[in-house]
């Protein structure tokens, strides 16, 4: 029986502490090695800051790599917070047609090289057809239509766009409601909250921890724990969204609030474009349910009767000519693959040329 006055000798205590410290350090290292050997995790860093208009923007002058078993992509953000190799002057050079791209990570071309993104592919095909097109990609990962409207108003119009290309994704429906930047009252759009900066403060604090940024960009164990924890927390959150299910068909029902809000925001974007002599083209990024199952969740039914939008969707191409191809990455964050981006770029370019969307309106 150990007496109450028994004290663990300091040397033994130190040895135990050292052993625990070593065990923890080794466990972390071994966990990382395990993941790299048996279950490689995607490393998908994204870097955003608060902008002066109360929403997120890409962190200027940043370069990071997105890595998974399928991709190894360099993402460079210029000093203006735009995914581009060089800075883009606000003044449009003579003879150049500008396309301002608005969207989320799909619009930004995550998980593909810049030249393979659908926006750059569109430009490449237009230039090959004799146009002189420049892309200004103002997309930011996590954006909804509400943030895209503000970005166009405060940043995009300064670039004097001839065409605004908006990448629509079904997540915009919820993002718009969640951000509360705009609300609908009696069918009219009102500005609500002044800012929407989810996770930006926390991120800034974390980034001040020495080594955090390096760990986020290189450590698979960290990425794994973060994703697992976030997934579990999402499940536990009250009102957690249901599993994203394949829509059966175009719904025969009155439009929901989120659909009405999305349409109202798109209408506002369209009005901004018209006021400034630009056209709006919407790229409807299909939702993926399996390698062969896709759907469009653009609120077409809600838009009907409210507004007319010029929409390009690669859905038919995905379902027919590209059936069975890998069109969305399957081991990373599920963005468009190179082949899907190229096909989308071709469809968009063909549409722009056919509808003469880059031609200046008669004055």
């Amino acid at each position: 029986m150990r007496s109450e006055s028994y004290q663990i000798p300091p040397k033994r205590r130190l040895r135990t502490l050292l052993r625990i410290a070593f065990a923890v350090a080794w466990s972390l290292l071994a966990g990382e090695l395990f993941l790299r050997a048996f279950a490689p995790q995607p490393l998908m860093p994204r870097s955003v800051r608060a902008s002066d208009i109360g929403i997120r923007t890409n962190t200027p002058s940043e370069t990071y790599w997105q890595r998974s078993t399928e991709v190894n992509v360099r993402v460079h953000i210029n000093s203006q917070g735009i995914r581009a190799d060089d800075d883009i002057p606000l003044e449009k050079p003579a003879g150049v047609k500008r396309i301002v791209v608005l969207g989320d990570s799909y619009g930004l071309g995550y998980e593909v090289d810049l030249k393979d993104s659908f926006a750059m592919q569109t430009a490449a095909r237009l230039n090959a057809a004799g146009e002189n097109v420049q892309i200004v990609n103002l997309s930011v990962s996590g954006f909804g239509t509400a943030e895209e409207l503000l970005t166009l108003q405060h940043r995009g119009l300064a670039f004097h766009p001839d065409l605004v290309l908006l990448a629509w994704h079904y997540t915009d429906l919820d993002d718009n409601v969640r951000s509360r930047l705009f609300t609908l009252k009696d069918g009219k759009l009102f500005r609500d909250q002044p800012t929407y900066l989810p996770g930006v403060k926390t991120r800034r604090r974390l980034e001040r921890i020495p080594g955090y940024v390096w760990m986020e960009r290189n450590c698979q164990l960290y990425s794994f724990i973060r994703e697992k924890t976030a997934g579990k927390l999402d499940d536990l959150m009250p009102g957690a969204p249901a599993v994203h299910a394949m829509p059966a068909a175009i719904p025969i029902r009155p439009p929901t609030y989120r659909e009405q809000l999305a349409v109202a925001l798109l209408q506002s974007i369209q009005e901004e474009c018209e006021k400034n002599g630009a056209k709006l083209l919407i790229f409807d990024v299909p939702s993926r349910f399996s390698r062969t199952e896709f759907a469009s969740e653009f609120p077409a039914a809600a838009a009907r009767g409210l507004a007319q939008f010029d929409v390009v969707s690669p859905l038919d191409e995905f379902r027919t000519n590209l059936k069975g191809e890998k069109l969305f990455w399957e081991h990373g964050n599920g963005h468009l693959t190179v082949i899907a981006s190229h096909v989308s770029g071709k469809l968009l370019a063909d549409h722009i040329l056919k509808r003469k969307l880059l031609d200046s309106p008669p004055r």
């Binding site: 065990a23 080794w26 993941l35 048996f38 794994f224």
Partner: protein, 404 residues
């Protein structure tokens, strides 16, 4: 949860992962199932039984017989026998405990100690690993090989490349072992945390050298139950060669039937009965005799494949499926990209379990962790925990033996 006899455990309803819930009734009336919201076909429905009935019926039978034999004193309090029969870790898939072993533990104060906690937590994690990493991932290979069910013709669509079918049988051997022994490990681990010691149910079954050796290692609680309450009362080996063989055969046949009212289970039981008889006829008793090493290795290889053949009978949907497997394996033993993918999955998800079993065999202990240096233990724990977190199948399947 209910068990429906007559449709077979591998019918679409079972494999669809939709356990019928919370009905504790013995009924044969479709009106009851309709009222309860259970959709079952009147064509296939015979009887609905509570989950795990095979296990606690045998447990209560053992108590009755042992009391009759005066080996166990009848318990005085109803709550004691009720606790013994409904002890939750063992309720749905055993092990089938004996009153001589488990009942006294309810009657005396229980204590736990550090070693029991160490063993208990390890058994729970190792059991989860066997189930979620090994068995559930093997289930995908097995499901592909044994074929999706064709609702139009009522048959399974089985691929015809022999190598893939063979790998599918190996995968099922790992699946059923990981699934059942995984459950047992979890049950034993949980019991240890409560201060109970539950009997061993598996002892490296795929290391068996002969059928009798296999049944000393596989589902030990059932095989010893059948031995004590069926084989020996039938006369055991006391009535001469013919009666011994008859008793062996009958015991195994009924052991097969215990798994469910399906011809494939009857065939599986008969097959194991026949194996026991053939080995006795040939006087092959490697566990008792000192054969040279190469002979033991050969006997092990033969027994492993005989066991796998048994699993084919056990898993096959019907007798026709068994024929297709034989035909393809023997006449079309060619490879295919699917076979290569199945092989990779088999190795990827099975290597740690197989390696651990080899170590257990070589060290002649089922708990080698207790003997290892803390740094080796730490690494084993890391492998197991990381596998559970990163490699566990996203599509979990119900424990196979829940159906029995």
């Amino acid at each position: 949860m209910v068990r429906v006899i007559g449709r077979g455990m591998f019918s679409e309803e079972y494999r669809g992962g939709k356990p019928l819930k919370a009905v504790y009734a013995l009924v044969d009336d479709e009106r009851v199932t309709v009222t309860l919201g259970i959709q079952v076909s009147s064509f296939t429905l015979n009887v609905i039984l509570p989950a795990g009935i095979s296990f606690y019926t045998f447990q209560s039978l053992a108590y009755t017989v042992e009391v009759f034999r005066r080996k166990v004193e009848p318990v005085e309090r109803y709550v004691t026998i009720a606790s013994y029969l409904s002890f939750f870790p063992l309720l749905v898939a055993g092990p089938i405990e004996r009153p001589t072993h488990l009942l006294p533990q309810f009657l005396r104060p229980r204590t736990t100690n550090r070693d029991m906690w160490r063993q208990g937590i390890w058994l729970i994690c190792w059991g989860l690993f066997k189930k979620m990493v090994v068995a559930d991932n093997m289930a995908r290979i097995v499901g592909d090989v044994f074929g999706p069910y064709d609702h139009l013709t009522g048959t399974a669509i089985i691929p015809h490349d022999g190598l893939r079918l063979l790998l599918g049988i190996y995968a099922f051997a790992l699946q059923i072992y990981g699934d059942f022994s995984g459950y047992t490990d979890i049950a034993r681990g949980v019991s240890k945390l409560f201060g109970f010691d539950v009997m061993l149910n598996f002892k490296l079954p795929y290391a068996a050298l002969s059928p009798s050796d296999f049944w000393r290692r596989w589902h030990i609680s059932l095989s010893t139950w059948l031995r004590d309450y069926l084989y020996i009362p039938l006369g055991g080996s006391r009535g001469g060669i013919f009666l011994t063989y008859r008793n062996l055969f009958l015991t195994m046949l009924l052991g097969g039937l215990w798994h469910g009212a399906s011809w494939t289970f009857v065939l599986w039981g008969a097959y194991h009965g026949a194996l026991l008889i053939v080995y006795r006829l040939l006087d092959l008793r490697p566990e008792d005799k000192n054969y040279p090493r190469w002979a033991n290795a050969l006997l092990w290889l033969v027994m492993l494949h005989l066991t796998c053949l048994g699993w084919l009978l056990f898993r096959a949907k019907n007798v026709a499926t068994i024929g297709v497997f034989f035909q393809s394996i023997l006449l079309h033993p060619h490879g295919s990209p699917e076979a290569l993918a199945a092989f990779k999955s088999l190795v990827f998800f099975g290597w740690l379990l197989l390696l651990f079993q080899v170590v257990q065999y070589a060290m002649k202990t089922l708990d080698p962790m207790a003997r290892w240096h803390w740094f080796i233990r730490l690494n084993v724990w890391i492998l197991v925990i990381m596998s559970l977190l990163a490699l566990a199948s996203a599509q979990g399947t119900e424990f196979i033996y829940f159906a029995f």
